[in-house]
Amino acid sequence: MADIILKAKSPLDGFSRDWPGITLREVTGRALVSVSIPHGGEAALGQKLSQVYGTIIPAVGESTASPVDNAHLLGLARDQFFILFDEGGQAPLAAVSAKLAEVAYLTDQSDSWAMLHISGPNSRAALARICLLDLHPDHFQTGQVARTVMEHLGVIILRDGADSFLLLSARSSAQSFLHAVTVSAENVT
């Protein structure tokens, strides 16, 4: 049916709001693909990564970065990491598949997560209301990543700057997650 074209919707409709010392934005235009390392395939994948992305497999809890597609590789488990990158002309899976198909198992996660970015000098105080992890910069440094739970919801948190965090949480409960974060911002400002 050529006359129907499917229009994409982001999980939070492009949410954006500011509080004193806090900026909260939905992140759109970023794709996310999970990469599982085949048994015994670490060396091959590592080699390929360094060829095509110029980076290495991130350790669990760490991230690595690549100028290719502005990619961040988030180390989440011993045999799994996520690649977060700028969406281009290709579908997310195809984009990574073209580079890594032979050496890894890939799953598109771009539509699975709502992505929120929180930054500003009060962002840590806001997160302290829902995040049980220690986000002190000596303890959770820029580039570090963690899987955790906030208000009963699974969250992946990446520190991408001094007072700057990327939060990923499930798409279906994105409104509840957004509520949790906005209430926190509201409560500390």
């Binding site: 049916m1 499917l6 085949p38 699975s112 302290a128 209301r129 829902i130 279906s172 409560n187």
Partner: protein, 982 residues
């Protein structure tokens, strides 16, 4: 009357006068006052009535241990009962009311209880209101509850907000008195991350209440300058108004921060925040609580702990009386006399139980050594005190000191037991402290200022060393050790009047003796029988003197008698704070499918399925009953085409070289030979042989599968698979990740399903029965190039497909499907129509997969392949699970077709009594079948497979219904499955 008892000095801000009301009377105070200090400054000594006897009561302490001065703060929905006036920070516009009186505070009609006191001793209720039994709930309890009690709730919803949070530190210092400040200062200077929490709004603890000096500064000035130094450190976080109320596992503490209780309005911000503090180490500097001495009428307004008298005079500039007497068993009492004299307040006398004291009274003050106070004259205030030598002393305030108890509470929260220190006559923390905790200062029994300062720093130094930090050099605060000897003296034996131990619960020396006489030997029993140590103050001032009385009665020592168990919270925590922001619909998260907005626009009625909201049915105008909508949706689907959002089903992406073998092991039926591009129904067993879940798994590629699970079991199955791959078969190359959130998935079912999908799926894909047969799957594109997955599977029994698109297109996809389906009168259908159609087809769901049913029970015994091993295979062969008389899933029709069926009904043979012995099984699912025109049901019954055609009784005793039903096949419609293959 304006602050006639206000005196010079203190740490109040006289530039900021504040107005407040007590029982409707306007009064004035200053910034820095508590409600209690402001009431005293205004000459208000009578502030409440006691719990049981309605005796007039005044302010007894100056801290959180207050048993008496409980008031109701604020008004309307904001009203809060049982707040302690001694810690309620004064603000402009504060309103407070006294509690627990009928009529006015001055003339409480319930004070008659006091005259009846001979009858109202410990255990009175238990002994008196025994018969008739039925009267307890209907008459006795309501009357007793109305007569006794504390404040009242507003009965409105709490309009305040509350929040919770998490904090982390190297060192948590609990209490900002001399030891705490000393510890925090050293730790702060070392660069460690420090949290210093104190329940008071002004840090300094007793330093603010005493006149002792540190170096050449007053204690209060030193506290202020130390707090200022700490505040300037980025690594130190100061938390005033914060009570650390509980010590939990692994260095985790609970703390309540009162953020706006000192303000007239919260301005939309949380009133209180409940913190969970993660500490590497903790220094407990909780200080000590002064204890009273019990003697006749020692509960009269005007009797006050000596330390509290000093606090009111020194810190708040409020005189508790014009002519104060002191009754003590230790040196502290004498210091009270000196502090009062220094403020120009007349001291009537110092009465010390000791024959000798190493200290002297101020000039011109009479002292009585070896003497006791036996009684007090005056009801709503003191007129005079009567001494053991018969002498009466005119006074309006009696400062009492029975020594100090270290605040060991938090050291005992993990069942640690305090130990008795003879020279202190007090319990101090034992050895079994919570992990990571050390104790410093008065809380440990270092009772003098000099000792507390030194101990705070010493303990901090030890902890810093343990944390691998260097201990900063430099001066540490020092002070002289003030005289602090005392003797064990608990109650005045020659008092003939009632001598009060627990002011909050109206427990007297006599009650404790009576309880002992009546056989209550354990302190825990004493507590329950007399109510000693219960309620908001948890006996902070009462417990030790009462233990002493009990020890005296039994002839045991106090340490032999022991203490009751200390449990969190240290001081009361409002339920609102424990709830935090988890109220109403924010109690837990909600999951929405991508068609939610569209469904809402259609007027869908939603049902909660775990955290999901799913459309249950879509009412149309004119439909007055849910059945109207559901019947229409079922008929529309079976006649032409229906569309249902099935996004909530779990989807698990399984990849790896060993994925096929992995699935072969986790599913009971064979999966090794499933071809690429095909789907298979799979049955998963638990290790014990019971059915765990079912669903379909599609093979998308050589090493790539996508498994579906039931909505409810999505997480459980994922967890199970993760366990299998990580723990059972770590050698397998298998990788799983949830794809539930990634795709919006819609079932398109009915004879016209293919026609609708042909308009959606791009034309290069062949949807013909040959090109895409039943149980086919594949990657397709839809609507001009959007990537999608298509599965030819059917839950409804019709020709059906499920189409999955990336979730971003989910909203657009449902609209596209409905638009494409318009020419076929496509109906959206909800979970209820879904359920009707699956019952018509005999498909099991959670009602049947209860975790207690086997594949055999479900009629799927043959699916448990014996050609291979799988989880649950061996234990499914247990005799008990293979009983010839065992249950079987079959269908049921009411014999009288006009009758409805009820799930939960149990089956008994016709003519047999409805008893457990005759129970043959139960009805698990029921529906009205619009296709058949009558009710149908699925259920389990013994030997069901052999009994088709037999009539039994479905007995629903809960709803009082007995219905004759006929056993039939569970496949009510199209048993051969011709439709779904068409």
């Amino acid at each position: 009357m304006t602050q006639v008892f206000r005196i010079e000095g203190g740490l109040i801000n006289r530039a900021k006068p504040l107005s407040f009301q007590f029982n409707g009377r306007a009064m004035q105070g200053y910034e820095g006052d508590t409600l209690a200090s402001a009431l005293l400054a205004n000459g208000q000594r009578l502030v409440g009535r006691s719990f049981k006897y309605h005796r007039p009561r005044g302010i007894f302490t100056a801290g959180s241990e207050e048993p008496n001065a409980l008031v109701q703060l604020r008004e309307g929905a904001f009203q809060e009962p049982n707040t302690r006036a001694t810690v309620a920070e004064l603000f402009d516009g504060l309103t407070a009311r006294s509690q627990n009186h009928r009529g006015s505070l001055e003339f409480d009609l319930m004070a008659v209880n006091d005259l009846l006191s001979p009858f109202l001793t410990a255990g009175f209720y238990y002994k008196t209101f025994m018969w008739p039994k039925a009267f307890w709930e209907t008459l006795y309890e309501p009357v007793i509850r109305a007569a006794a009690g504390l404040g009242r709730l507003s009965m409105e919803e709490d309009p305040d907000k509350y929040d919770k949070g998490f904090l982390h530190c190297d060192l948590l210092v609990i209490g900002a008195g001399p030891a705490g400040l000393s510890a925090a200062l050293l730790a702060g200077r070392s660069g460690a991350r420090v949290i210093l929490a104190d329940e008071d709004f002004r840090m300094g603890g007793r330093l603010n209440a005493e006149t002792l000096a540190i170096g050449d500064q007053t204690g209060a000035d030193w506290a202020a300058s130390t707090v200022a130094e700490l505040a300037a450190m980025a690594n130190v976080s100061l938390m005033p108004r914060t009570t650390v109320y509980g010590a939990y596992d692994h260095g985790i503490y609970g703390a309540l921060e009162r953020r706006t209780d000192h303000l007239a309005h919260s301005n939309g911000k949380p009133r209180q925040v409940l913190w969970r503090i993660y500490s590497k180490r903790t220094v407990l500097c909780a200080g000590a609580t002064e204890r009273p001495i019990a003697f006749g009428n020692n509960d009269r307004p005007g009797v006050m702990l000596a330390g509290a008298v000093r606090a009111y005079v020194n810190r708040y500039g409020a005189a508790p009386g014009k002519r104060v007497a002191v009754f003590t068993n230790n040196d502290d009492g004498w210091r009270t006399a000196h502090d009062l004299a220094a403020k120009g307040i007349a001291v009537a006398a110092v009465i010390d139980v000791r024959e000798k004291a190493g200290v002297t009274a101020p000039n011109g003050v009479e002292s009585f050594l070896g003497c006791r106070v036996v009684d007090i004259k005056g009801r709503k205030g003191i007129k005079s005190v009567i001494l053991s030598n018969g002498q009466a002393i005119l006074t309006d305030c009696l400062a009492v000191s029975g020594g100090w108890n270290p605040n060991v509470h938090l050291t005992c929260h993990q069942r640690g037991k305090p130990v008795w220190r003879e020279e202190l006559n007090a319990f101090v923390p034992g050895r079994d402290l919570p992990v990571g905790m050390v104790v410093a200062g008065a809380a440990k029994g270092e009772m003098t200022l000099g000792a507390a300062l030194k101990d705070g720093a010493d303990q901090a130094a030890e902890v810093l060393t343990a944390l691998g930090r260097s201990v900063p050099a430099g001066d540490r605060p020092t002070a002289e050790d003030e005289p602090s000897t005392g003797t064990a003296f608990w109650y005045v034996k020659e008092s003939s009047k009632r001598a009060w131990l627990d002011l909050q619960n109206d427990v007297t020396v006599k009650d404790v003796k009576l309880s002992q006489q009546e056989g209550f030997r354990s302190v825990e029993h004493l507590k329950r029988y007399t109510t000693l140590g219960m309620a908001t103050d948890q006996g902070k001032t009462a417990n030790i003197p009462a233990l002493a009385v009990m020890a005296d009665c039994t002839g045991k020592t106090i340490p032999e008698t022991g203490t009751t168990i200390f449990r969190p919270p240290y001081t009361p925590v409002p339920i609102g704070a424990l709830g935090g922001r988890a109220r109403g619909r924010n109690f837990r998260p909600t999951r929405l499918t991508t068609s939610h907005q569209w469904a809402q626009d259609q007027g869908a009625v939603f049902v909660e399925v775990g955290p999901w909201l799913r459309a249950q049915w879509y009412p149309k105008e004119g439909e007055t009953h849910w059945r109207d909508s559901v019947d229409r949706e079922v008929k529309g689907t079976r006649r032409s085409v229906g569309i249902c959002d099935v996004t909530t089903l779990g989807k698990i992406d399984v990849q790896g070289r060993d994925a096929a073998e992995f699935l072969n092991r986790v599913y009971a039926n064979g999966f090794a030979k499933l071809a690429v591009g095909r789907v298979r129904y799979g049955l998963m067993l638990r290790e014990d042989g019971m059915v765990m879940d079912d669903g379909t798994t599609a093979r998308l590629g050589e090493c790539h599968y996508v498994m579906t699970t039931t909505t409810a079991n999505a997480v459980n199955v994922f967890r199970h698979l993760e366990f299998c791959r990580q723990c059972l078969w770590p050698g397998m190359d298998v990788h799983i990740i949830s794809a539930t959130e990634q795709f919006a998935q819609y079932a398109v079912a009915g004879p016209n399903a293919r026609n609708v999908l042909q308009k959606i799926v791009d034309p290069e894909f062949d949807l013909s029965n040959e090109g895409f047969p039943f149980m086919a799957c594949g990657e397709v594109t839809v609507c001009g190039g959007t990537q999608a997955r298509l599965f030819r599977i059917s839950f409804s029994g019709e020709l059906a497909y499920e189409v999955a698109v990336p979730a971003r297109y989910g909203d657009a996809m449902i609209r596209a499907l409905m638009q494409a389906g318009a020419e076929y009168d496509a109906v959206p259908y909800g979970t209820e129509a879904l359920s009707v159609m699956r019952i018509e087809k005999g498909h099991p769901v959670g009602n049947e997969l209860t975790g207690q049913t086997t594949a055999r029970d479900l009629g799927m015994a043959r699916m448990v392949s014996k050609k291979k091993d799988c989880i649950g295979n061996v234990l499914s062969e247990r005799d008990g699970l293979n009983d010839e008389d065992g249950l079987a899933l079959v269908g049921f029709k009411p014999v009288d077709r006009s009758r409805s069926l009820k799930a939960g009904a149990h089956f008994v043979a016709k003519g047999k009594p409805v008893t457990t012995e005759n129970d043959e099984g139960w009805m698990s699912s029921v529906a009205y079948s619009p296709e058949l025109g009558h009710a149908i049901g699925l259920g389990f019954i013994r030997r069901g497979a052999e009994r088709h055609g037999e009539i039994v009784v479905a007995a629903d005793l809960l709803r009082g219904e007995l219905t004759e039903v006929e056993i039939t096949s569970a496949h009510f419609i199209d048993p051969e499955g011709e439709r779904l293959r068409g």
